[in-house]
C-alpha cells in the first residue's frame, strides 16, 4: 500500500531523538578535536613536554570514561570496578611491550585476553543489578588489584617499570611513544576511533535494545531479545574499550602499578562521566578534560581537592543531572534541525 517507501520512512527519523542527540555529540567531539589540534600546535611551538603528557593522560582516561559511560549512560549499570579492565589492559600491554616493543602485538594480545577475561567476569557481575552490581564489580576489582599488589612476578606494589619506548608503525609514518606532540596526536586519533566505534554501536538496532533495557527491562524479552545476552555483550564491549585505553598507559608513562585498578580510578571515571554528561559519550571526553583541569587548578590551592571535587560532583548530580552536555547538547541538536519537540 505505501507508495514511496524511502521518502516516507526517512521522514520518521525526525522522531528518533537518540539519533539526533548522537549527531549533536559528534559535532561536540569535532569541536574538541579542533581544540586539541590547536593545543598541540601551541605545545609544539613552546617545546612543552609536561602539559602535552598531562593532556595525553587526560585523553587516555577519557577513553576509559567512554567505557564507563557506555555502561552507566546507555545500559543504566553503575560499575564501581571498571578500572579492573583499564588496569588489566595496562598490565597486559606492559608485559607484552617488555618482551617486544611492538604496538600492534600489545594491542592484539590485549584485545584477545580482554575478550576472554571480560566474558568470565561479565558472567559473574551480570548475575546481579543495581547496587549489588556496583558492589560486585567493586569487589572484583579490589580482589584482583590486591592479588597483583601481592604478586612479586608482577612487580607487587611498585608495579612494572622499565617499559621501553615504542615505535608505532602506522604504515605511512611511525610515531614514537616518547615524542610528546606526536604521541598526543596519536592518542587523540585512537580515542576518537574508540568514540566512533562506541557511537556507532549504540546507534544500531542493538544499541536501541540496550536503551530499552535501561528504560523498561521487563518488556524487552517480549520484544524477542535475551536480556542476559544483551547485557553481557555490552559489558564485554565496554571492558574491551577500557582495556584498549589502558594499553596506552604504559606507553605514555613507562610503568604500570596496581593503583590503576583501584577504586579511585573507577571512581574518578564515574565522576568524569557525570560531570561531562551521562549517556552522551562526548561528555566522557569533555569530562576528562574538565576533571584534569580541575584537579590541577584546585590541587594548587589546597591539598584536599578530592573533597571539593566530591562536593561539586554531588551538586552536579542534584542540580545539573545531565552534566555539561546537558546544557550544551540540546542547543546543538536544535541547530541541527530537531523535528521532535
Amino acid at each position: 500500500m505505501p507508495s514511496t517507501p524511502s521518502k516516507n520512512t526517512s521522514a520518521f527519523l525526525a522522531f528518533d531523538r537518540s539519533g539526533l542527540a548522537m549527531r549533536a555529540s559528534h559535532v561536540l567531539v569535532a569541536l574538541l578535536i579542533v581544540a586539541a589540534l590547536g593545543f598541540a600546535a601551541v605545545g609544539a611551538a613552546l617545546n612543552d613536554t609536561f602539559y602535552l603528557r598531562l593532556a595525553t593522560e587526560a585523553l587516555i582516561l577519557g577513553g576509559f570514561a567512554l567505557s564507563v559511560d557506555i555502561l552507566l549512560g546507555y545500559t543504566g549499570l553503575l560499575s564501581l570496578g571498571h578500572a579492573l579492565y583499564f588496569g588489566f589492559g595496562a598490565y597486559v600491554s606492559a608485559l607484552v611491550l617488555k618482551e617486544t616493543p611492538s604496538f600492534w602485538a600489545a594491542m592484539g594480545v590485549v584485545l584477545v585476553t580482554t575478550l576472554v577475561f571480560g566474558v568470565i567476569t561479565g558472567l559473574i557481575a551480570n548475575r546481579v543489578r543495581g547496587v549489588y552490581f556496583a558492589l560486585v564489580t567493586f569487589g572484583l576489582a579490589q580482589v584482583v588489584a590486591k592479588a597483583i599488589y601481592n604478586t612479586r612476578a608482577l612487580g607487587a606494589s611498585d608495579g612494572l617499570i622499565g617499559i621501553p619506548i615504542v615505535p608505532i608503525n602506522l604504515g605511512f609514518m611511525t610515531v614514537m611513544s616518547n615524542a610528546p606532540v606526536a604521541f598526543f596526536l596519536f592518542t587523540l586519533a585512537f580515542v576518537v576511533l574508540l568514540y566512533v566505534a562506541a557511537a556507532y554501536l549504540l546507534d544500531t538496532s542493538f544499541g536501541r535494545v540496550l536503551g530499552a533495557l535501561r528504560v523498561n527491562e521487563h518488556r524487552v524479552p517480549f520484544l524477542g531479545y535475551s536480556t542476559h545476552r544483551a547485557r553481557l555483550s555490552i559489558y564485554v564491549f565496554a571492558a574491551v574499550i577500557a582495556a584498549l585505553s589502558g594499553a596506552l598507559y604504559p606507553m605514555l608513562r613507562g610503568f604500570v602499578s596496581p593503583e590503576l585498578m583501584f577504586f579511585t580510578t573507577s571512581g574518578n571515571a564515574v565522576i568524569t562521566v557525570v560531570l561531562g554528561g551521562v549517556g552522551t559519550l562526548a561528555g566522557a571526553l569533555y569530562g576528562s578534560v574538565i576533571l584534569t583541569v580541575l584537579k590541577s587548578v584546585i590541587g594548587t590551592m589546597t591539598e584536599h581537592h578530592l573533597i571539593v571535587i566530591g562536593i561539586l560532583f554531588m551538586a552536579v548530580v542534584i542540580f545539573l543531572p545531565k552534566g555539561l552536555m546537558g546544557v550544551v547538547r540540546p542547543r546543538i541538536a536544535r541547530l541541527l534541525g530537531g523535528g521532535a519537540r
Binding site: T9, F12, L13, D16, T204, S205, V215, F222, L223
Partner: protein, 248 residues
C-alpha cells in the same frame, strides 16, 4: 487444520496453591478466543505460562504445531507469540515512534542488528503501517508516558502486534477505557483477527459476548467451561460461579 495455539494439562503451583491446574484448550486460527473468569481465577497466570514468563510444573504449550513448553519469553516471541499487558508496560520514557521502532526491529534480518536503524527499511515501513492502523500519526513525537490512557492501551496492542506474531495475547486491552474507546478497541480487535489469531482476557462481558468466537471460562485455576458465547452464557455452572459478580 492445526490449532494456532494449544495448551494441554497446563498447571503451576506457588507455595502449595495451584494457581493454574490442568487447563487444556485449543485456540483456532483467525478466531477470537476469550478467557474469562472472576478475579483470582488464574487468567493472568495462564498468560504468563503461555508466554514463557513462568515455567509450568505440568502440561504442554504448543504453538503452530511445535512444542514450546518451558521456552523463555524471548524465544516464545521469536516463535510467533505477541503479548500485551494488563498494566501498561510501555517504554514510557521513549517516544511513540521509538516504542514502535523497537518492537518492529525483530522483522529485520540478523545483520541489521549491527546497522543503524535508519537502514532498516522493513521495520520503518512496519512502523508506518502500525501508525496508520492504530491512528497514532499525530503522537509520533510524544513520549509514551504523556499519552492519554486510551492511547497508551492502543499503543500497548500495537507494540505487541509489531513483529507480526501468529498468535496475539491481549491481557485486558480495554482496562480503564471509556465507553467510546472500548467500542473502538472492539472493532480494532475484530479487524486484527483477520490476520492474526487472538487470545484475549477480558472483564467487560458485553464486549466479550460481542466479539468472541469462542470462550474459555476459568475458576480457581481450573477450566470451568468452554464453547460458543451462547452456550457459555446458558451454562448453569458458569452462571453460578461467575455471572454473580460480573460487570456489565
Amino acid at each position: 487444520m492445526t490449532a494456532a495455539l494449544q495448551v494441554d494439562g497446563l498447571g503451576v503451583a506457588f507455595g502449595g496453591i495451584r494457581a493454574v491446574d490442568g487447563v487444556s484448550f485449543a485456540v483456532r486460527r483467525q478466531a477470537i478466543t476469550t478467557v474469562i473468569g472472576p478475579n483470582g481465577a488464574g487468567k493472568s497466570t495462564l498468560f504468563n505460562l503461555i508466554s514463557g514468563q513462568i515455567r509450568p510444573h505440568a502440561g504442554r504449550v504448543t504453538l503452530d504445531g511445535v512444542d514450546r513448553t518451558g521456552a523463555p519469553p524471548h524465544l516464545m516471541q521469536r516463535a510467533g507469540l505477541g503479548r500485551s499487558f494488563q498494566i501498561t508496560n510501555l517504554f514510557f520514557e521513549l517516544t511513540v515512534f521509538e516504542n514502535l521502532q523497537l518492537a518492529s526491529q525483530r522483522l529485520e534480518p540478523p545483520r541489521q542488528m549491527l546497522r543503524r536503524i535508519g537502514r532498516g527499511e522493513i521495520s520503518l515501513r512496519r512502523v508506518g503501517e502500525l501508525v496508520e492502523r492504530f491512528g497514532l500519526a499525530a503522537k509520533l513525537g510524544e513520549l509514551a508516558g504523556a499519552l492519554s490512557h486510551g492511547e497508551q492501551r492502543r499503543l500497548e496492542i500495537a507494540v505487541a502486534l509489531a513483529a507480526k506474531p501468529s498468535v496475539l495475547l491481549l491481557d485486558e486491552p480495554t482496562q480503564g477505557m471509556s465507553h467510546g474507546d472500548t467500542a473502538d478497541t472492539a472493532r480494532l480487535i475484530r479487524d486484527l483477527s483477520r490476520d492474526v489469531t487472538v487470545l484475549l482476557i477480558e472483564h467487560d462481558i458485553g464486549l466479550v459476548m460481542e466479539i468472541s468466537d469462542h470462550i474459555v471460562v476459568m475458576h480457581q485455576g481450573r477450566m470451568l467451561a468452554e464453547g460458543a458465547p451462547a452456550e457459555v452464557r446458558a451454562d448453569p455452572a458458569v452462571k453460578a460461579a461467575y455471572f454473580g459478580d460480573a460487570s456489565c
